[in-house]
C-alpha cells in the first residue's frame, strides 16, 4: 500500500514534470530508436540556435532558395525533424507518437490544420503555439502508411515565408490558429 502510494506520487510528479515541459514550444521528442531500426530510411535533424546561426553564414544571399531559407530561419531558435520511411505498411503504431501528441494537448498549443486522406491513408496534423499575435512554435505530424514525419520548429515563425520556399503552399492565417479548437489526443 505504502509502495503503491509512493509509486503514485512519483508518477504524478513525473507527469507534472512532463506537463510543465510540454508548455514549451520545443517538444521533447522521444528516442525513436525502435523506429530507426525498423526504417529503411531515417532522417534525424537537430538544429539549435547556434547551428542555425552557423548555417546562416553558409547560405548564399544571391541564390534565391538560400535567400528564402535565410528569411525563414531568421528568428528561429531551433528546428527538429524526425522522419522514418518503412519498406512495408503499418510498420509503426500510433502509440509510438503518443508522447508527442500528449505534449500537443497542453495549453499553448492549438491545432491549425488536421487532414485525413482515406484514399492514401495520409494524416497530417499541424499545431502552432501562439504568443500574442506571433507563432512561437510549430509542430507537424505527418503519418502515412509507410512514412512518419515529425517536425518541430521553435521561434518566431512566419508561415508566409515558409510558404514562399516552394511558392505554392497556403495555410490559414494565424487568426485561424488562435481561434482553432483545442487539439484532442489521438488514439
Amino acid at each position: 500500500m505504502k509502495l503503491s502510494c509512493i509509486g503514485w506520487l512519483f508518477g504524478s510528479l513525473l507527469l507534472s514534470g512532463v506537463a510543465c515541459r510540454a508548455a514549451e514550444p520545443r517538444l521533447v521528442l522521444p528516442d525513436f530508436s525502435d523506429l530507426t531500426k525498423k526504417a529503411s530510411q531515417s532522417v534525424n535533424i537537430t538544429l539549435d540556435s547556434s547551428l542555425l546561426v552557423m548555417a546562416g553564414k553558409f547560405l548564399d544571399g544571391d541564390d534565391p532558395q538560400d535567400a528564402a531559407v535565410r528569411e525563414v530561419i531568421k528568428g528561429l531558435s531551433g528546428i527538429y525533424v524526425r522522419s522514418y520511411t518503412f519498406g512495408e505498411d503499418n510498420a509503426y503504431r500510433q502509440s509510438d507518437i503518443d508522447a508527442v501528441n500528449a505534449q500537443l494537448t497542453s495549453p499553448g498549443w492549438s491545432r491549425l490544420v488536421q487532414t485525413k486522406d482515406r484514399k492514401s491513408g495520409a494524416n497530417v496534423d499541424i499545431y502552432v503555439m501562439v504568443a500574442g499575435e506571433k507563432a512561437i512554435g510549430m509542430a507537424l505530424i505527418a503519418s502515412e502508411p509507410r512514412e512518419l514525419t515529425i517536425v518541430n520548429i521553435v521561434g518566431s515563425i512566419d508561415l508566409d515565408k515558409l510558404r514562399k520556399l516552394e511558392g505554392h503552399f497556403g495555410v490559414p492565417g494565424l487568426d485561424a490558429a488562435t481561434t482553432a479548437s483545442p487539439p484532442s489526443k489521438q488514439k
Binding site: 548555417a55 531559407v69 497530417v124 507537424l140 520548429i153 520556399l165 503552399f169
Partner: protein, 100 residues
C-alpha cells in the same frame, strides 16, 4: 745589466699554480657557452615550427567550422524541404476535399 733583466724576467714568468676551483669555473663557463650556442641555434627553427603548427591548427579549425556550417546548412534545407513536403500533403488533401 743582462743578469738583472734575466732575473726580473724569471721572477715575472715563474710558474704560478691556478687558484683553487679555477679549472672547474673555466669548464663550467665553456659548457654554459656551448649550451647558449645550442639554444640560439634551435631558436629560429623552433619558432618556425611553432608558427607552422599554429597556422595548421587555425586552418584545421576553420575547415572544421566550414564543414559544420555546410552540414548545418544541408540539414536546414533538408528539414525545410521535408516540412514543405508535408505541408503540401495537407494542402493537397484540403484542396481535394474542397473540390478545387
Amino acid at each position: 745589466m743582462t743578469d738583472d733583466l734575466e732575473a726580473a724576467l724569471r721572477a715575472a714568468l715563474r710558474p704560478v699554480d691556478p687558484p683553487e676551483g679555477f679549472t672547474g669555473r673555466v669548464m663550467a663557463r665553456v659548457a654554459s657557452a656551448q649550451r647558449h650556442r645550442l639554444r640560439a641555434r634551435w631558436r629560429i627553427p623552433a619558432g618556425i615550427a611553432a608558427a607552422v603548427l599554429l597556422a595548421i591548427s587555425i586552418y584545421l579549425h576553420i575547415q572544421q567550422q566550414r564543414r559544420e556550417g555546410l552540414e548545418a546548412r544541408r540539414a536546414i534545407v533538408e528539414a525545410l524541404r521535408l516540412t514543405d513536403e508535408k505541408l503540401d500533403l495537407a494542402y493537397q488533401t484540403v484542396r481535394e476535399a474542397s473540390g478545387t
